[in-house]
Amino acid sequence: MGDNKLHVLKGIDAHIREGELVSIMGSSGSGKSTLLNILGILDNYDSGEYLLNNTLVKDLSETKAAHYRNQFIGFVFQSFNLVSFKNAMENVALPLYYKGISRKKRNLMALEYLDKMGLRNWAEHMPNELSGGQKQRVAIARALITQPKVILADEPTGALDSVTSLEVMNILKDVNRQGITVIIVTHEKDISEMTQRVIRLRDGVIEN
């Protein structure tokens, strides 16, 4: 915004290996989301280097960034971010549209992924007909359908009750067991305790 630069992150030095299940912890406003958005190439950074799969990700064109997101990254958001006028199956299938996969094939795959989430019977339902936990499972199915290298989840349980939160965390752990790197942003201790490694953020720097 204009020339007023706000330095949210002030020197992050971290390495996350392939196949890890990592959580980023910190109080509200500590820069967790900002960091995750940079990892997901949804946001830019001013200085430093970010290597994804050994490729430097810096000042990419939007087209190139779109490519990387589609190929390597799956997102799970606190507010689900489903497309409101598409049903569950179409939402899950959407990333495959940008991969150029035919409608028939991608809808079949979407049903398969919804099945894995136990939502086969909800495929034709619109997002506003689903509960929070169901929405988040649809979102996870959508994140997984492109078989990404990394799942980035920003407070995936933030809008869910504790039982549903546990369900979602179990799904994410399952995903990780299949070899996909999972990075979860959270400010809840019990969520971070379910991950292998915790990166603690305070005022834009890593604690330890």
């Binding site: 958005n37 949804l42 490519h67 940008y98 409608r103």
Partner: protein
Amino acid sequence: MFDLDKWEEIFSSIGKNKLRTFLTAFSVFWGIFMLIILLGAGNGLENGLKNEFSNDAINTIWVYSGATTMPHNGMKPGRHVQFTNADIEEIKRTVPGVVHISTQTNIYGEKQINYKNNQGAFEIRASYPGHRHIEKLEILEGRFINDADIMAFRKVTALSKSVKAALFKEEDAIGKYIRINNIPVKVVGIFDDSGGEKGRQQLYLPITTAQKVFSMQNRIDNFMMTINTTSLEESNAIVEKIRAKVAERHNFAIEDQGAVFISNKIKELKKYTNIFDGVNIFIWIIGIGTIIAGIVGVSNIMTIVVKERTKEIGIRKALGATPFSVVSLIVQEAIIITSVAGYFGLVAGVGLLEAVAKNVPPAPFFDRPEVDIMIAVYATILLVVAGTLAGIFPAMKAAQIKPVVALRDE
């Protein structure tokens, strides 16, 4: 490039956002529809105007006698001006530019017109042969009255198609005799009057014959002529010469407007074409205004649409949509909606005009409200292109927003 999948994506988005689709579609539909109706109405006026004038030759001057309104050479006003055959001969001889000259003189009193047992009340016009050119009569059979008829006071007549039908039905009429007040008159021709006087029940007699048979001496009521120019100035000059000539012959003041009425059809037509040009310009201004309103409507809706879809765009980008795919999704949606709506506007507008043209009989000054289909098509294309352009800029802007910003949008 035809990408079925992209179309499916677009159609699903159109189908699931019905209000937005309807609003865009309606503003385009209405713009095109109104434009076509307006242009059609304009053409209807123009056709009607042409009809009003096409029944007679346009380059004509009509002279009617009146009564004097000014004292002149010691004579009191209120004197009736009576034309005679000599007036016609004199005008023809002395006024350059006059081509065909004739009269349309009434025969007073009761007239019985019959053939065998068929009879009817028809209008008898006592005229000169040149009348054919003034009224643009089309000879269907035989001939019109000619100079020889005039010279020899022949009892001959030319019948309009409808008089012939009334008196003779299917029977051949040429060479047969009808009776006017029991006087036998030979039918020499059958004609049809073009334009507005189509179907009029009238028959023509040579003026000289009529004057003799009906004891009219050399009275004529009026005279009219075609002239060899269509220019307004030249025709006005001829009018002035005629006025001077008639004033001199009938001894009234040349500036006495009541003594004769002279109608210059070229001038009348000019008056109407001026009005019509004004109406036409007015219609185009409204039409262009309608189109602009349509364009503004579409741009507004597109701007709102893009704003409304910012979050969706953010989601799509997070899932791997390139800026190009985002722009093309929105723009193609706009193209489809505006084209389809424009097409329906076109069909509805043209359909309504055709229904009007078919079911509403021609009225004075209004006939065949048709529209040049190419103009309608161009207007539709213009609106589609404008709608597209209106969509492109906000779409491009939205496609360049960082996903993190777009996703934050609520």
